[in-house]
Each structure stands twice: as C-alpha cells, then as structure tokens.
Point group: C2
Chain length 613, copies 2
C-alpha cells in the first residue's frame, strides 16, 4: 500500500502514513500535541486546515463546520482521509492548559496571570466625598488596601486619562492591573479580552503562541524565519555584525522586534483580534537572541570568557519597548543561565520540570550549540557544547538543513531506504539522516570504532553484501554513496564521505563529552540517570537508536529516551500563563549551575575519548 508523508504546521513534525489513513490517525502516530475530545465523528473539535495535498472528506463533517470555515479549507481530522502527501495546519481548539500539561513533565500548572482586568464602578465625587479620582478609583479596585501607597511610574501615566475617563463613562471602567499596580484603564467592560503571546526566538526561526490569559487556551500559533538570518546564519556571525557594523546592533534588534510585531498581528488577526489585545508577552531565546532582542551589545558575550550583560529575569513595559502590543502591557523576558546556556534552556527546564524531579534526568537540546542539563531537585548542572554545525547539515559534503528535499531518515534493513522531507527527489542529507547512515554503517561493520571505513575484505557481517557497491572512492578516500546522481534533484550523487564522518565525530564527541562531564560533576554513573529528554527540533527528528549507536547518547540509556518536542515554546507558554511559573524560571536560572567545559579539569581527555564511536 502506498505511503504518504504528512507535514504538520506550525511546528513541522513529519510522519509517513499509509494511503487512506485519517489525519487523526496521522496526528496520533506522529505524537503531536493535539487533543481529541472524542474517539472521532462526535465532538467536531479536531479542526485542521489542509494547506496542500489531496484528500477525501466526509459529508458528515459539514454539520460541525460553518460555511466560512469550509471556505477557509478547514476540516475535521477524524473525517479526513489522506490520499497524497499533505501539509496540515493544526488548529488548536483544545485547551492549551491541558496541552501544555501533556508536554510538561509532572505536576500541574496553575494559571496565575501576571496581569488582570477588572471592571469596576467608582464612587462619584461630591462635596462630601471629596477624595481624589485616583483614591476613589483605587478604593473600588482594591477595597482592602491601606491608603498611602506611592504610585508606580506606570500608574502616573494612567492619571493622564483617569479623570476624563471616569466622567465620560458614568464612573465605570476596566482596570488592567499587575499585582497592586495599575497598568492602564479602558473604557467599557473589556475584561473578556485578555490575551498574551509566548515567543520562542530561535536563531533560525521564531515561533509565537497566542494564548487566552484567562483560560490558558491557545488561540493560534504562528512562526517565521528569524529575519536576523540575513545578517548571519549563526549567532557568531550576528554578534560580529552587531559589534563591527555601525548600527548593526540596532538593525538586529529591529529585525527581531519587527518580526515579533508582525507575528503578533498575524496571530491575533487569525482569531479576529488585534495586536492591541495582547497585554503580556513571554520571551525565551538563547543568550545571544536575548541580548539582541533587548538591544544589548553582545560584545563581551562573543569573546572569552563569554560574559552576558545580564542573565536576570526582566520585565519590560510595553510602552517603552518597540513591539506592537497593548501599551499597558508587560513583556516577561525569561532569564539566562550563562553566556551559552540561555533562556531557551531555562524554558525547557521549566517545561520538563527537572527542578522538581526526585530522580536524576538528562536533557539534551541539540542545535548549532547543544545545551545539556543533568540534574534533579537536588542539583542541576548545565553546559553548552559546541556541537558544531554537523547536526544542522553544515560542513557536510552533501549536507543541508532539515528542509524540503533533505534525507531525514535512512534504514539499512535488508535494503537501503531513505525518506525525504516534503517528498520528491532528495537534494541532500540533514543531520538526522547523517546520524542514521553512520549508525547503520557502524552496525554493519563497515565503519570501525574510529570512524574509518574498513577495507571490504575485512567486512565480516553477511548483511554488508547488499551495501558493498555503495562504498565508493571519493577524493582518494572511501565514501558511502547514499543516492546515485540519477535519483537526486540536482543530478549529483549524495555521499557520506570520510570527512563527513569526521565532522559528525567531532559534533557527537563534543556532546558526549559534555554529558560525561556533567555526570562526573554530579558524581553519579550513567545508570543513575532515570530518563533522557530530547528537546528541540533536532531532538524530535533524530532516531534515538542511531544516537545511541554512534555514542551521542550513552547506549545504556536508549530505552530511557523521550522526545519532549518544542519544550522551549512550552516553557515560554508556562511563563506567560503563570507568574508562579515565571518565578520558577527565575529560580531555575539561579539554581542551575553552569559548567564551563573548556576549563573543566579532565575535559580534554574526556573529549578525546568521546570521539570514538
């Protein structure tokens, strides 16, 4: 039976399913966060938008969908059968609280909004009740409070509207509060409208989640390429741009804040709101993204000893920050741990609740830099490993990012099979594909522990036979021919060369060494680790078995691996929905100890040892 590839937006998960499967089945198999409230056909809640592909729907879904929805390509996942490769946008109609909890590890998240709205009636003044407008206003808002509280600066700006607003609205208005601080007032009763956005600012892409701050419901999800990419693909290039170009820092800040404003507009317009309805934002990103977002110079972050200006949690007033949202709002920037372990890692730890775990867990988030955390409620260590670009397909002869045309998975079971992102002829190989190839070659005995191709006559494994012809010579060294030029998009073969293997060795060696250092620092043995959490996009793509075969993750932990998806985005959402979670994030940033690998006593030897497969 024919298989089709289904790509889920906005997060980009991919799954192969057999023809005729329902989208619901595909969603479930992909392990994507999506809530099915019934077993299918009854509740009408599993709405998706089919962006590409042919499919067959069922007339029954019409009773659940309005005309407008149908015209927008919205269907129910349970009724929709897959008949080609598809791109499906997940419309989150389920409560985000539940969804977040399903991603977050343990315990429960209580919604504790940073900001509140209250519709109040203020006593009218008279010669007998001569108290100032502000005093009568506060008396209605906080009847219990003692009277002489010095006003916060934001409150002073409220004064400029208060007197008139009271008198043009029969002394009734909506107050936006932050603790006992009044951030703004609005005419009429607007208490229903209180949304916020959580952002995960990645070096490559930015994802934004629009949330209802009352219910915790996720209203929409949007994403974009980080427009800073045009100033440099990686953080190093961008830091250099900020440090060396006149107005470089300004441009980088404008790029990211502009993108966030645009996403805010997009996310709110999707659900009939506007940017002005956003009262709170939570921001997570690595330390460089954090500094550039704030417009802080990354100068000292870019040179040893890589010191950030600050790692503290920051709460910005929207009125003073160049982002389009309600001017009474607040922006909650998550704290960093160190120069190369940023707020994104704090968000992952927040989502995975490692700080609350009785047992020791290992968290791995692989990107250009890999962040590793090892710990429990008792101790928590983090480090950053310069994994290098191999995992992202860079500096690999046929390498490419995990985009359309990339070979993302390879198997050697009997015959060589591979899957290509977005179907079609392959253009190259991405990190997860490379991992599979090398793992396969190791298991077949084609590569030795040092990563070198074994001479064909020494290959003993009978399984090797089917792949021997793929071992070719490339620039005087053996290489593995993954796809012949006749089958590729561009007509050039896709190879895995001896040098590519060396690059992967460096990358996995760095990660594995980081893990070993943290284990050493914690004073435990590998077997004490109760769970391995793979976070981030790459963590979601890679085959855990391959990761263990090449020794990226200790082999004994293979059965303890769990994918936690975009945990940074989840952490940002938690910090947005709950001031307690935001505070927990601040506590995590303090609690987590950063381990600088370069100055760790045994690092060189550990690293050297980790290069072997």
């Amino acid at each position: 039976m024919k298989e089709y590839k289904v790509v889920f937006r906005p997060e980009g998960q991919i799954i192969n399913v057999v023809e005729g499967s329902t989208v619901m089945k595909a969603i479930k198999e992909a392990g994507v966060d999506f809530d099915f409230l019934c077993s299918g056909g009854k509740c009408g809640k599993c709405r998706v938008r089919i962006l590409e592909g042919s499919f067959q729907s069922h007339a029954d879904e019409e009773k659940f969908l309005g005309e407008k929805e149908t015209s927008q390509g919205i269907h129910l996942a349970c009724f929709t059968e897959i008949h080609s490769d598809m791109v499906v946008e997940l419309l989150q109609t389920n409560t985000a609280q539940h969804q977040i909890l399903s991603t977050a590890e343990e315990g429960s998240m209580e919604i504790a909004p940073h900001l509140c709205k209250k519709y109040i009636e203020v006593q009218k003044a008279s010669l007998e009740n001569y108290q100032s407008d502000w005093k009568r206003f506060r008396a209605s808002l906080f009847p219990e409070e003692s009277q002489y509280i010095t006003m916060a600066e934001t409150e002073i700006s409220v004064l400029y509207q208060l007197s008139k607003a009271l008198r043009t609205n029969q002394h009734q208005l909506t107050a936006i509060t932050y603790g006992h601080e009044v951030l703004g007032i609005e005419q009429q009763d607007t208490t229903e409208r209180l949304t916020g956005m959580a952002f995960d600012i990645g070096t490559t892409s930015i994802v934004g989640y629009l949330m209802d701050l009352h219910s915790g419901r996720e209203l929409s999800v949007v994403s974009t390429v980080n427009p800073q990419t045009k100033f440099g693909a990686d953080v190093i290039t961008r830091m250099n741009y900020a440090n060396q170009e006149e107005k470089g820092l300004e441009r980088l800040q404008e790029a990211v804040t502009g993108a966030i404003s645009k996403l805010a507009k997009e996310a709110t317009e999707k659900v009939g709101l506007s940017s002005d309805d956003i009262y709170a934002m939570a921001i997570a990103g690595n330390t460089c993204m954090h500094h550039l977002f704030l417009g802080l110079s990354p100068k000292y972050l870019s040179q040893s000893p890589y010191i950030p200006t600050t790692t503290a949690p920051l709460i910005l007033s929207a009125s003073k920050f160049p982002i389009d949202m309600n001017k009474a709002g607040k922006i909650f920037v998550l704290p960093n741990i160190a120069g190369f372990v940023g707020a994104d890692t704090v968000a992952v730890l927040l989502a995975t609740q490692m700080d609350r775990s009785e047992e020791v867990k290992l968290m791995i988030d692989i990107g250009t830099n890999g962040e590793i955390a090892l710990g429990s409620k008792h101790k928590l260590f983090t480090c950053s490993s310069a994994a290098g670009p191999a995992f992202e397909g860079a500096q690999i002869s046929s390498g490419m990012r995990g985009a359309i045309g990339a070979i993302d998975h390879v198997t050697f079971e009997g015959e060589l099979r591979y899957s290509v992102i977005g179907e079609g002829k392959p253009k190259g190989i991405c990190g997860s594909g490379l991992l599979d190839v090398v793992a396969g070659l190791l298991e077949l005995g084609i590569l030795d522990k040092r990563g070198r191709f074994i001479s064909p006559e020494k290959m003993t494994n009978p399984m090797v036979q089917g792949f021997k012809e793929n071992i070719i010579q490339y620039e005087g060294k053996p290489a593995f021919l993954l796809v012949d030029g006749s089958s590729t998009f561009h007509g050039r073969p896709i190879l895995v060369t001896q040098k590519d293997i060396g690059e992967l060795q460096l990358a996995k060696g760095a990660m594995a060494a980081g893990i070993k250092v943290l284990i050493d620092k914690y004073g435990i043995v590998v077997e004490d680790i109760k769970e391995v959490l793979l976070a981030g996009a790459f963590g979601n793509y890679l085959n855990p078995h391959s990761a263990c075969v090449i020794g990226l993750i200790p082999k004994t932990l293979e059965n303890k691996i769990r994918m936690v998806g975009n945990a940074a985005g989840t952490g940002a959402r938690l910090a947005l929905l709950s001031s307690k979670e935001y505070q927990r994030g601040a506590a995590i940033a303090e609690f987590a100890e950063y381990v600088e690998l370069a100055s760790y006593p045994k690092f060189s030897s550990i690293f050297a040892g980790s290069m072997y497969f």
Copy 2:
C-alpha cells in the same frame, strides 16, 4: 537717628534698622534663618551679598574673603554697617540641617537620603567566574542580597552602559542607588557629588534650595517669579487657561518646569556645580500648581466639587520628566490633602510637626486662599478658606501686592506713621498695611463692629482727634485718607474706603469662619489651642496684634502667635533630605482630614457671624 529698610533675599523679609547697625544685627532682629557661628569678627562665615544700597565695610573682612568673592560683592554681615536702604542676599554657609531644625518645631530630623552613591570594585569575569556583569555588579553593591531579584525598569536602562563601563574603568565605578534599585552608574569615584533641590512652587513665586544630600548643608537658594503669571495671576485664571486654550496645559507645564530647570542651573552654577549634579528634587505647591507641574488637567479641580486627579505622593524618574537634572535622578512630589489644600500645606505641617504635637495647634497660611489646619497627633483637620484677594491688595481701591512702594505697616501711636517697602514714596497699600489701618480705626473707635465709620460726633476716644481730618468723603461714603496725593508716588491719594473695609471683612470673615469650623469639628474651645503658627509670606508680614484686633485670629490667642516663615520651603527641604520625612509627609496627607466649609452644616451662620469685627 535715621532708620533704613533692609530687604533680605531670597525670601524677601524686611526690617527697619537704625543707621550704622551691622547687617548681622539686622538679620538677628528680623528673625531670619541664618547661622552665626561666632559673635562677630572671628569665623568669617556670615557671608552676604550686597545687592543694593550704600554701606561701610571693614578692612578686616578681607582676611576671610577671597578676591573673587570681593569682586562679586560678597561681604561679612558682622563687619558691614548699614548707611542706606539695602537689599542683602543671604549666602547660606551654615548647615541647613541645623537651620531647618531651627525652623521645624520639635524633635530632630535625621538625614536619610532617598538616593545614595557608592563607589565599588566589581570582580572581573573569567571562565571560572562566569556570572553576568549585572550579577557581579550587584554582588559588589549589595553583598548581602539574595540573588534573583527582578530588575526595575530603570535598572534595565543601566544595563546598556554597564558592560562597557566596567571594562573601561578597571571594573570600578560609582553606583547611584535608590533603596535596592540601581538608578545609574558613573565612571570614576563621584560619591562626593550628590546634591538635590527642594522647590516651593507658589502661585506667584518659585523658591529653590540647593542642598548637599550627604551633609544636609544648604548650598544656595534661588527664586523667581512663577512664569505662569503671564497666563494669569491667580490659580482660577490659570485653570481656565489650561481648560480652554489649545495647548494651554502644555504651556503652563512648560512654564513651570522651564523655570525650575533655570533655577537648578542658577543654583548649581553659584557653587561651581551643574544641573547634572542634581540627583533628587522635592516639589511642594498647592494642588493647582501640583497638577500643572505634572501636566495633569485641572479641569475637575476648577469646578465643584473641586476634585484633584490625585493627591498621592508621586516619585518621578528624571529621565522621563522635562526638567534638567541628572537623568538617573528622582523627583519627589509631595502629596496633596484635597483640591484646595495642597502639597504646600503638607510641607508646612511637615515643618511645623503638628502631626507629632501632643497639644492642639492652629496653623494659618494666608494667601489668595487661606489654608488652615487645626490639630495634634491625635486629630488633624484642614480647610481652605476663600479669603479672597483682599489680603493680597486686590479689589482694594488703593491696594497692591506687597512689592516696592506698598505701605506694609501703619501705626496710630500719637501720629499716623507708615512704612513703605523699598523706601520711597508710597504707591498703594498691601494686605498687612490694610490690616493695620482697619485695626487702628477699630481701636480708635472710628469704625464700629460692623465695619462702618461712626459719625464724627459719636467718636468718644480722645485719641481720635489727631486723625479726624483723615476721615473724608469718597463717592458719597466716608473713607480714611492714609496718604495725601502730595506725598504719593503717583500724586493720587491712598485711601481706605468703606468698600475696602467690606472686602477685608469678607476676607477675614472667611478665615475666621474656617478657624471656627475647625474648632467646632475638633470639639474644643479656643482656649484649648496652645499655639498659633503663622506661615507663608503674608503671615510673616502681618502684625499679629492687628490680626487679632480685626478678629482674623481669635483675640485670646494673641500671645500664642508664632511666625514660622516659609515653612513650605522648609518642609520641602525636609522631604528632600530624608526619605522618612517624605514618608511622614505622605502619612500627614492621609491623616489630615479635609473639611469642606461650603457643606459644613453651620457654615453660613458661622460665616455671617464672623464678618463682624
């Protein structure tokens, strides 16, 4: 022996002294706040600047004064003999703390600066000590503090300079702090330079005091006419201007903030500093001045029930307020009590410490509006009495402000004598002069209790004879001819007409009624009042005996009257020098109960009864 008039700047006190008196003697007789550290001729501290007039100095003073000082007209008060009318500027070289305490009533004022400076050395970062710049900076600044404190908004702005400042100054810098909040950083050790200014914003004039915030020493005093006068002489006209003219409010705010910036420049330049050395300001003024200073619309303040937008204590960041001072600084605006009992009254209460008094005291501050306070540490009532313009010489036939050419005091002892401000021929009569005339006429039996001239044949007092010819007819009614046209500046006679007396009756009636209402409200009798404090410029000018004769102040209190000078300025200085005093001001504003006279049950009859002399 000839007498000369000496006017003291900046506060404008006036005294008559005999020819040849020293300025020191004049200062002492005038009861002006000025510290003499020796009995004369020894310490060289009693510096004054002679602005006008001829005098004789002593060669000995040269050993105390530099050339520069001599060229600026600076002399020592103890050596300088008066040989004409003079205008003398008091250069305050004494410690303001002492001086303030001599004005303030009881207890002691502890200097507790709002802002501090600390010169610190921050640990250098390394691969081993990888903490962020902010964290290491705070660890040096507040070694005792627990680590994860959310940054204040002002602190975030410090981040933009911190990393570079640390590395260009060997990790040493000066931090400006406000509690545990960092307001700014400065290169080098600038801890010595920490000054502030207290402002008393009057409707007519603005006085500013430059203070050393470390020692509490007063460095200079400056004053100017409130430039808002060009938009209206009184608060009502200015409020109308703000409410009716486009940009009226903006212009009024710009006028006062501009004047304050100018005074700040002037005050600091006098002592070799600049506006940038001012880190704190304390602001006192009536509620209208308060609103216009902040740029808050006085619309609802100008119409019944006269409600201010706020009466709360406000602390503004200098970086966001249009005044030239150090941008890291703070502006401490004193709180108001009600629409017509403003922060200036709070400042007076702060200075006079009525809120700490075991015994009941009465405070009277007379201007266009008279503010009255009656109370003790147990209860404190305030009210505002629309004294009307009579006390300021307005709506009086020959009336004028207490400026050059005004008759300010009149005596009837044997012959009619009067004194003129600034010497020269009189131009008119000001409030204190009018008070003296009416009191004299009452004592002579020329006026009856209802304020009407008694027919000459019914005058029984033999003393009247000398003044009978001064009783003339003016517009068909009797009037008192104070100065014949031949002796006046403009050739027109200066009269006190029956209508003038009526105006004064209204004014004193309003004040007296206010006092009676507060006594009634407090539930005491007049005799329970232990002291009467006369505050403000008019309070300093008027003859207390005359005030009692006309019944402005109950006669039985005559011996309990004390002048407290510009107590509002003193209160503002206290609030500037001590955060505890500023907080006490906030507490006073809450503690003091405002009594609205217009709605007080018995007010009409009390007012009617108070019109009688």
